[in-house]
């Protein structure tokens, strides 16, 4: 396994922190994302993605501990604003698909949060976002070892090389030397 591939572990409540916000890309925070003995109610606030149009969050600090969002972008916009106003002593936790985790992580890095202040744990689909090294298009939801680029149509081999900056795995054309010579396609990232 390449070193650039992130590893994740169950989230624990970092007791050195003073305020704790957990965000999830699902409607319920999955129990398997949390370490033994940790439950969602131990966090001061829980932000989830309900995925329907009835979700109307008010994100004033401390008002309500649970907020539902319509979509990932909906949540991320509120999160960026919130991080911009937060003070030191805050801890952020994210569970969900890898693409979501690194959007959250980037929002945290932008405001100067460091490794110890953010915890990530991947749950659910292992599908990858794949960055085409040739045309720079990102293909979403890739579950196979080789994928046709959504931008230029090249047959991309999906590497284990993960870019934290791009939030995607690197993909390069597998049949550049001999066009059409494509290895067997297998579904391996479910």
């Amino acid at each position: 396994m390449s070193k650039s591939r992130p590893t994740y572990s169950p989230l624990y409540l970092d007791k050195t922190g003073k305020r704790h916000l957990i965000v999830s890309d699902t409607a319920e925070i999955p129990a398997e994302a949390l370490a033994d003995g940790v439950t969602p109610d131990m966090f001061d606030e829980r932000w989830t993605i309900a995925g329907h149009s009835k979700a109307i969050p008010g994100t004033e600090r401390g008002a309500v501990a649970d907020h539902e969002f319509r979509s990932m972008n909906h949540l991320l916009i509120a999160l960026r604003r919130r991080l911009g106003e937060e003070k030191m002593g805050f801890r952020l936790y994210a569970v969900g698909a890898e693409g979501f985790l690194w959007e959250v992580r980037t929002a945290a890095v932008v405001v100067g949060m460091g490794g110890g202040e953010v915890q990530l744990n991947q749950v659910g689909s292992q599908a990858r976002r794949v960055f085409c090294n040739h045309c720079r298009t990102i293909t979403e939801g890739v579950t196979t070892n080789i994928v046709e680029c959504a931008g230029c149509g090249a047959n991309l081999f999906v590497r284990d090389h993960f870019s934290r900056r791009l939030n995607a795995f690197a993909g390069f054309q597998v049949d550049a030397e001999e066009p059409g010579d494509i290895p067997e396609i297998e579904e391996i990232y479910r």
């Binding site: 050195t16 937060e86 002593g89 405001v111 100067g112 949060m113 460091g114 110890g116």
Partner: protein, 314 residues
Amino acid sequence: MIRHDPLMLRVSRIESLSPTLRRIILKSADNEPLPVAGPGAHLSLTLASPKKVYRNSYSVVSFSGDHYELIVRRVEDSRGGSAFVHENLKEGDLLPSTVPLNLFPIQVGSRKRLLIGGGIGVTPLLSFAKVLQENGDRFEMHQFVREDEKAVFENLVQGVGSKNIHIHTRRPKEGEIQALLEEQPLGTSIYMCGPDGLMAAVDEAAETLGWPENHVHREVFGAAGGKPFKAKLAKSGCELEVGENQSLLEAIEEAGVPINSLCRGGACGACMTSLLEGDPEHRDHFLNNEEKDSGKLIMPCVSRAKSAQLVLDI
């Protein structure tokens, strides 16, 4: 060109800022360009008084290409180095120095820097403030000084031209440091330099408020002396008396026993030495608590003895 120790410097100008503060401008003695000193860097000068040779480290307040600026405080219970700078050093004198070393650099990636200084601890923070101001980086500086030195410190920071520098002519009030830290935005890093009491108060407030350790940076002074004690060097077979105004490191150097050193302030770890016997009084910030408790290692630049004698494995 890469230059190596010792760097020969000439005292180009000495300016008295107050009865206990002197500004020293050092230029290259051989007209070769000087190595760059970034914010937080220090020079270890070799100060040869008639009685004794001292090696003292001083923060570089500013570096302008052709000179280093230092500010040296005359300390009451000085081991002799700062007294020498105040009483004997003259313009034109030659001083051997290390090349600038930096154990207190500005880290990248912070959204804001909070600088907290006490007394002469202002020196590395001044170098920070100048660079942060020039780069347009967000910072806030709080400097605690004695009432009678208000004007001197106001003059020192005036050159930076920032409204974010606050001079307080007193010690921090109860809860004041905590209140200051409480209002800092995410992504703030602390850089502090000052008396132990001030730095301990900052450490405590930061821990209480949930600041990660890697957001809190400190520059330590070389601790002053203490009770005299004996040191036995097992491998070299010498026995030393460490005087009350002398560090263990200085005593070892005086005896001619080779030993590495860099910051001479308990921060870098270069002089770490194995301890065979004796009860050490650890004053450094390098060893972790486990290592300190083991009693097997000591940093002779600042640490001393609780027992009458220490036996070192050198």
